[in-house]
């Protein structure tokens, strides 16, 4: 069998493909974080809890209302976004003029409260959520068995990430948003309702997290802490990509997923730390991040 770096080529391709799938989750979550940070200047620590809420809304819908996966994929982001908008209007909007630290502490506290609430109601072990029938099964690629559902995750994530990038960077609405971050007073003077735009942006960022949560439900254990396990890695991804850079967070998300996949073959014990090592190196060499616009 052909080998690369002393690893059978088949195994290597398999692992890289898996890395890409994990990268898809990192990309979706860090995209939402970067969007919120870039436009609202809020470090949204409750992002992980909102991802978890997405998965739980899907589970609740299936269990109590019988709504299937596809309905959940459409509705859960809207429901969780509505909740996010409520938080933004009642609490976060008071903090925009203060230091980042205030937003971070508030959202961190909110994350603990939300997680505690779900833990109280549903316990810690998690809830079952099956892969939807249409996406069950898999393909044998010769070097690995690829579950159809995982392929779907990568495709859905790519479409979502690129769509978001186009929306922010290439459309008129995106231009307004970017302008409003630079100089809200001036944009407001042109007759654009900046506070509403900011609120909707936060809602959109939260919806991205919830969407990722629904995608994750059939793969991972749907439990109240599923987000807090992931959020630290995702923050590292955002830092490496450059805070606030949309394309940066997408590319970095996929890249680090690949790197992590590779580590799992070469030296599995380090798989949990490799992303943080990269973060340290990037911070030392290029503090603004790989795609950041200078410090």
């Amino acid at each position: 069998m052909m080998t690369l770096f002393g690893i059978p080529a088949g195994a290597l391709f398999g692992q890289l493909l898996l890395g890409l799938i994990n990268g898809a989750f990192y990309a979706m979550l860090s995209l939402g974080l970067a969007l919120i940070f870039g436009l609202l200047n809020i470090i949204n620590f409750s992002h992980g809890a909102q991802y978890m809420m997405g998965a739980f809304v899907a589970w609740l819908g299936l269990t109590y209302l019988g709504t299937n996966y596809w309905v959940a994929l459409a509705l859960a982001p809207l429901i969780v976004a509505a909740f996010g908008i409520l938080l933004e209007r009642t609490m976060l909007s008071r903090l925009y003029k203060l230091d980042h630290l205030y937003g971070l502490l508030l959202t961190f506290g909110l994350a603990l409260i939300i997680e505690g609430f779900f833990r109280q109601l549903y316990g810690i072990s998690g809830m079952p959520y099956a892969v939807p029938k249409e996406l069950a099964g898999g393909w044998n690629l010769g070097f690995m068995y690829l579950p159809i559902y995982r392929a779907w995750v990568v495709i859905a994530s790519l479409i979502l990430c690129l769509g978001t990038w186009v929306l922010i960077e290439k459309t008129k609405l995106g231009a307004y948003l970017r302008a409003a971050t630079e100089n809200p007073a001036l944009v407001q003077a042109f007759g654009i309702n900046v506070p509403v735009m900011i609120t909707l942006t936060y809602g959109f960022g939260v919806a991205l997290a919830a969407f990722a949560g629904v995608l994750a439900a059939p793969i991972y254990s749907v439990n109240p802490l599923m987000g807090s396990n992931l959020i630290i890695v995702v923050f590292a991804v955002v830092v490496i990509g450059g805070m606030g850079s949309i394309m940066g967070s997408i590319v970095t998300g996929f890249m680090l997923g690949l790197l992590e996949g590779l580590t799992k073959v070469v030296y599995p014990e380090a798989a949990g730390t490799v992303i943080f090592m990269v973060m340290v190196i990037v911070l030392l060499i290029k503090p603004a991040g790989l795609f950041g616009k200078g410090a």
Binding site: P8, A11, G14, Q15, L18, G19, I21, N22, G116, R119, G123, I124, S125, G126, M127, P128, A130, V131, G138, M144, Y145, P147, Y149, R150, P218, I219, Y220, S221, N223, L225, M226, N229, L230, G261, K264, V265, P268, E269, A271, G272, T273
Partner: protein, 405 residues
């Protein structure tokens, strides 16, 4: 007059003699349930163990020789330092006589040190490591519910005998995972099986696909999961997704609780074999006790840790009554002497050895098919009862210095 005074004196002496017979410090028995109330293990242990301990006190009548019994509790957050400082405060300042439950080996070992120093009783239920009855054993310390040796013996023996000769391990990269893998490897090899390899995954870990593919590529018949809680759930869920089980390889969950099965659902978990110290739906006695517990726990059913906590606490109360004192050494002697039997149906053929191990029958269980499950939480078929002496590490192999060689 004189006669009356004499009778009075006799009565008084008799009364004080009766009082002198039973000596309990501060005229109160206090048992502290120290457990994980918020983290990974809060379903399999957690609040349910406090309920179980309270049920034990109620069933015993709330008093030991007229002295009231109180249950207090705290969250050790699975951290050794927090666990030991709470235990120290309980023993030194709050008059606690015994600490019960103690899930997470690191926390249990830390509290064991504190209890041993003070000659106080610990009743360990949730922690898994055999270290507690070997290097860390104590004359006043008891390991009640299960341990890694019993899990490995039960599951690996049965699986190898059913033809699962070649093994590959997914192991959580910390002391518990390493211990469980080592114990299982020993049993597999002793039965003529072969170890194809192992991969150590970070703890905690959510994506197992990479490790599962490595296990798949190894060609081993059995993939042993030397991990626990959410790690095990994620690994099993993803093994199904990647067609591991359909491809002819089988999973062996080395530490699986009924709460994990509930979380996975029968569709995903069906067919899996595991060893457990308790199953609520085993006989009339276990059903009756579990239904009482369930009524206080929103319809959930108890794990072996919940039932084990009840069993250990009520046995401790019986020993207190028999010893007529709360002196740790004397109570520990009584705990070893009196027979172990309680309403939960937990400790079948139970006995406590010199190393503090409570040896009792274990069960080899297989997860039911969804169609065979008749009621909520009706999850297991009990395939075999494993006699305690076969399940646990033989006393002759114990490294505990209390064992006479």
């Amino acid at each position: 007059m004189l006669k009356k005074a004499l009778i009075g004196a006799v009565a008084l002496t008799a009364l004080s003699a009766a009082q002198a017979q039973a000596q309990y410090s501060d005229n109160k028995i206090k048992i502290g349930v120290l457990t994980d109330l918020s983290g990974t293990y809060s379903d399999l242990a957690g609040k349910g163990t406090i309920i179980a301990a309270q049920m034990a006190v109620e069933d015993f009548g709330g008093k030991v020789n007229g002295v009231p019994v109180e249950i207090i509790s705290a969250d050790h957050q699975n951290k050794a330092d927090i666990a030991s400082s709470i235990a120290r405060k309980w023993y030194d300042a709050e008059g606690v006589d015994a600490v019960a439950e103690l899930v997470t080996t690191a926390a249990a070992v830390a509290v064991r040190e504190v209890s041993k120093e003070r000659g106080k009783i610990d009743l360990i239920s949730g922690a898994a490591s055999t270290a507690l009855t070997n290097a860390k054993c104590s004359a006043t310390g008891f390991h009640w519910t299960y341990d890694t040796a019993a899990l490995a013996n039960g599951t690996a023996n049965a699986v190898v005998k059913n033809g699962g000769k070649t093994w590959y391990f997914l192991t959580a990269d910390y002391a518990f995972g390493h211990d469980l893998q080592a114990q299982t490897e020993r049993v597999v090899k002793a039965n003529g099986g072969e170890i194809k390899g192992a991969v150590r995954h970070p703890f905690p870990n959510s994506d197992f696909s990479s490790f599962l593919l490595q296990a798949q590529a190894s060609g081993a018949q059995i993939i042993g999961l030397a991990n626990a809680g959410a790690d095990t759930i994620n690994a099993i869920k993803q093994a199904k997704e990647f067609g591991i089980t359909q491809g002819g390889q089988s999973l062996a969950g080395l530490l699986v609780f009924i709460t994990d099965i509930n979380s996975l659902g029968l569709e995903t978990a069906q067919g899996m074999m595991m060893t457990t110290g308790y199953y609520w739906n085993r006989d009339d006695e276990t059903r009756a006790w579990s239904k009482r517990w369930s009524a206080k726990m929103d319809g959930k059913m108890p794990s072996m840790v919940h039932a084990g906590t009840y069993s250990s606490v009520i046995h401790y109360l019986k020993a207190l009554a028999a010893a007529k004192t709360d002196d740790g050494m004397k109570v520990a002697e009584q705990m070893r002497a009196i027979p172990i039997k309680d309403a939960s149906g937990f400790a079948i053929n139970g006995k406590i050895r010199a190393d503090g191990r409570m040896v009792h029958d274990m069960y080899l269980a297989q997860v039911k098919k969804p169609a065979d499950s008749k009621a909520p939480w009706d999850y297991y078929n009990i395939l075999r009862t494993i006699p305690g002496d076969d399940a646990y590490q033989p006393l002759s192999e114990s490294k505990c210095d209390l064992v006479k060689k």
